[in-house]
Assembly symmetry: C2
Homo-oligomer: 441 residues x 2
């Protein structure tokens, strides 16, 4: 479908000022032409016109590390450390999850993500067929993977890897190429050496990326050094995992040597500022990593440790944490966090060309309304977007050339139905939570 | 006017679960009666009924440190340290401000605040008659003060103190008691000893509180020790300032001894997490201060260093910063940041009884819509409010028993007119900004 987006202020990249009153031609899921102010606008063959009405047009946000199904556990257990949170609350609760529940939890997350201007997610969880289906239904672009947890190939590993590979076989390239798959060792601390080696080989064979958790807590690093004589980063390097395209969530506790390894292997480090702060895991040294040549993406992590899936507030928090932890207000300026949020510098990972509004890039676009009092004055639209913008300002979302949200309404799936289903499902987990609370107190 | 709020889920205090389907009788600006679920609801003499429709009812937010007029400088100068930001950008620009401009800047801030569920502000700036007028027009409750900057009484101090006192005489108790006044030495580093002593006496005579900046940056503390042999906190104690009711913004760099002084004198410490992070000033040790008996309020500071005036995201950031800086995910749990945001523990400062929904408390109330996907599931409404709630979820605001916002529309002042005026004013500062940018590069 040939679509014309007319009279928007278009932010083509973080480095340029917006084209005032520019237009854009989209066809077959891609940006075909970017038209400057007052350029004659093509009329032939246009099937749909979207009027800008002074809105800002930017690339959609890339939420590079999520667990969509976990949205069922938003607010389930609060103000706890990662270990207690996972081992005492989340993992036991997850044992009760049915595939159908994961579908609805993922659908809820998809609705929330789209409304917040997210056009791509990199999602790792289980019952992933269900999440994949919710993603296909919602219209989101995604890189999906099954989170593999196994101490050895011979003790659970074979089965786990099989499940991970089945997801790749079933879904890589699905939904007209919108959905791609990765392989996911959940983390070095939950996977044995032979499992990591096996996954490394499998990823190479299948030609898919690796998506893992890496060096999230101080404790994880200490135990790795104790058990293997190596930091988690050095260990996965030694095991050959980094020979693949690797995206590594967190990278909070990384030293000079780790950062050098991440840079050398072009690992994409995924920054989850809210989740790392909420669980008191720490603050990833993203400004330093960027300077040392590590590519950094931005992410929300799951709703259970965030608790929302919006990326604008994540940009702001990333900037705040970097400034205050480095004692440097110039650290992570607006352009830098914006680039991380739209994946402007990211290439590969089965996602295609994202993050810029240029010919040949994917038509993953969002329109931002600037009429709220929070946007006044507007000395610099990018600064307003990052520091006073809100997910609620996003009022049109296009993915792969198709409009999936207009005026705050998701057009692909039925939000009311999704909310009703999740409310039903949550009564079950509410009961589980209450009985745990009564046992604790 | 006798108003009945019917069928809300009422969060009376942070310590209790909401009353499901409760009702509330308001009269003469105060809460007259809180009715439990299914209690018979009075019908006689009711002039207005507001239907809850499952919304959550909580006390309005108290934004305890603002510079409303500065909203004109939202996004004016970004990613700079406090000194450069103030001395090179903000102060020179402020020299151009006219009283009328401050009116419109304050009106814009009032609109934004009300829409975000703020019902009270403690505001310090200049051309404060204009801000006071905007506050009266908007319906907000406020404690206002003129920020006094003077090295000595004999060099500018007399005039400055006179201006500060005139504001008290003209506005203390105005707008049917909604507007009260304080005296404000801008900060110990901008006021000489005799100015601080004079203000201390004047505050006692007038019976008004003191509102000041205190120990915001490391540098401020170092210079104070160098020049006076005392920390800023110890210095203002010595000068007698703390004999008054004192609210002190920031208190970022306070040591054990400072904290003891703040606790002894019942100083209200005002926490501005975003502003302190953005300017890389540091993270105030609010969890520690609370433990040591210091009362803490929450605030946004001016829009120029935030850049928005919403309090929900400020609660979340306060929690995140406290957890990650203390390495303790239990630090500042949801109840604690909520109490700071609604001033549940605050008494005095000319504000009256705020922060709880109980008989005799001010009818400053906000209704929160919980139908967005971000509020699903809802295991605990307070946790959803703090961690996934947004200002946009606030859809009714009552101050002093009067509805000032309904369904997202401010009813007291004309938002469209305010936005138009500020856009006009901003063209002047946009030109100043551009010429500074061209000179810098």
């Amino acid at each position: 479908m040939k679509t014309l987006l007319r009279n928007f202020d278009i932010l083509t990249t973080s480095k340029s000022s917006p084209i005032k009153g520019g237009s854009l031609l989209v066809n077959g899921g891609r940006i075909v032409e970017v038209l400057e102010t007052r350029s004659p606008v093509p009329e032939e063959g246009i099937e749909r016109v979207i009027e800008g009405r002074g809105r800002l047009l930017i690339p959609g946000f890339v939420n590079s590390h999520t667990h969509l199904g976990m949205t069922l556990f938003r607010g389930f257990a609060e103000d706890l450390n990662l270990e207690d949170w996972l081992e005492k609350w989340i993992w036991p609760a997850e044992e009760n999850l049915t595939p159908e529940e994961v579908y609805w939890g993922s659908a809820l997350a998809a609705v929330e993500s789209i409304k917040a201007g997210v056009t791509t997610v990199a999602d790792m969880y289980f019952h992933m067929d269900q999440t994949a289906q919710a993603l296909e239904d919602s219209g989101l672009r995604a890189l999906i993977s099954y989170g593999i947890i196994a101490p050895e190939m011979s003790s659970g590993g074979e089965e786990e890897v099989k499940t991970g590979l089945a997801l790749v076989d079933d879904w890589d390239g699905a939904a007209e190429g919108r959905i791609n798959a990765a392989l996911s060792p959940h983390a070095p601390y939950t996977c044995g050496d032979d499992v990591l080696t096996e996954l490394s080989k499998a990823a190479e064979e299948k030609g898919v990326p690796i998506h893992t958790h890496l060096s999230e807590t101080r404790d994880e690093v200490d135990r790795s050094v104790e058990n293997f004589g190596l930091s988690p980063v050095a260990r996965v390097e030694k095991l050959g995992l980094l020979e693949n395209e690797v995206m590594a969530a967190h990278c909070v506790h990384v030293d000079e040597k780790d950062i050098e390894i991440l840079a050398d292997y072009r690992v994409l480090s995924l920054h989850n500022p809210t989740s790392n702060a909420k669980l008191a895991s720490g603050i990833a040294p993203v400004a330093k990593m960027s300077t040392e040549g590590v590519d950094v993406g931005l992410a929300t992590d799951g709703a259970a440790s965030n608790n929302d899936l919006g990326m604008i507030k994540e940009m702001k928090l990333a900037a705040m944490l970097s400034k205050v932890s480095n004692g440097d207000p110039e650290s992570l300026p607006v352009e830098a966090v914006y680039r991380m949020a739209v994946a402007e510098d990211v290439d590969g990972f089965g996602l295609g060309k994202l993050g810029k509004i240029e010919e040949g890039f994917k038509a993953d676009l969002i329109a931002v309304d600037r009429n709220s009092s929070r946007w006044i004055p507007e000395y610099d639209p990018l600064s307003n977007l990052v520091y006073s913008g809100k997910s609620a300002d996003v009022d049109m979302v296009m993915i792969d050339g198709k409009v999936v949200m207009e005026e705050g309404k998701v057009t692909t799936i039925d939000e009311a139905e999704v909310i009703e289903k999740v409310r039903e499902i949550a009564t079950k987990y509410g009961r589980i939570r209450q009985s745990k609370l009564s046992n604790t107190t």
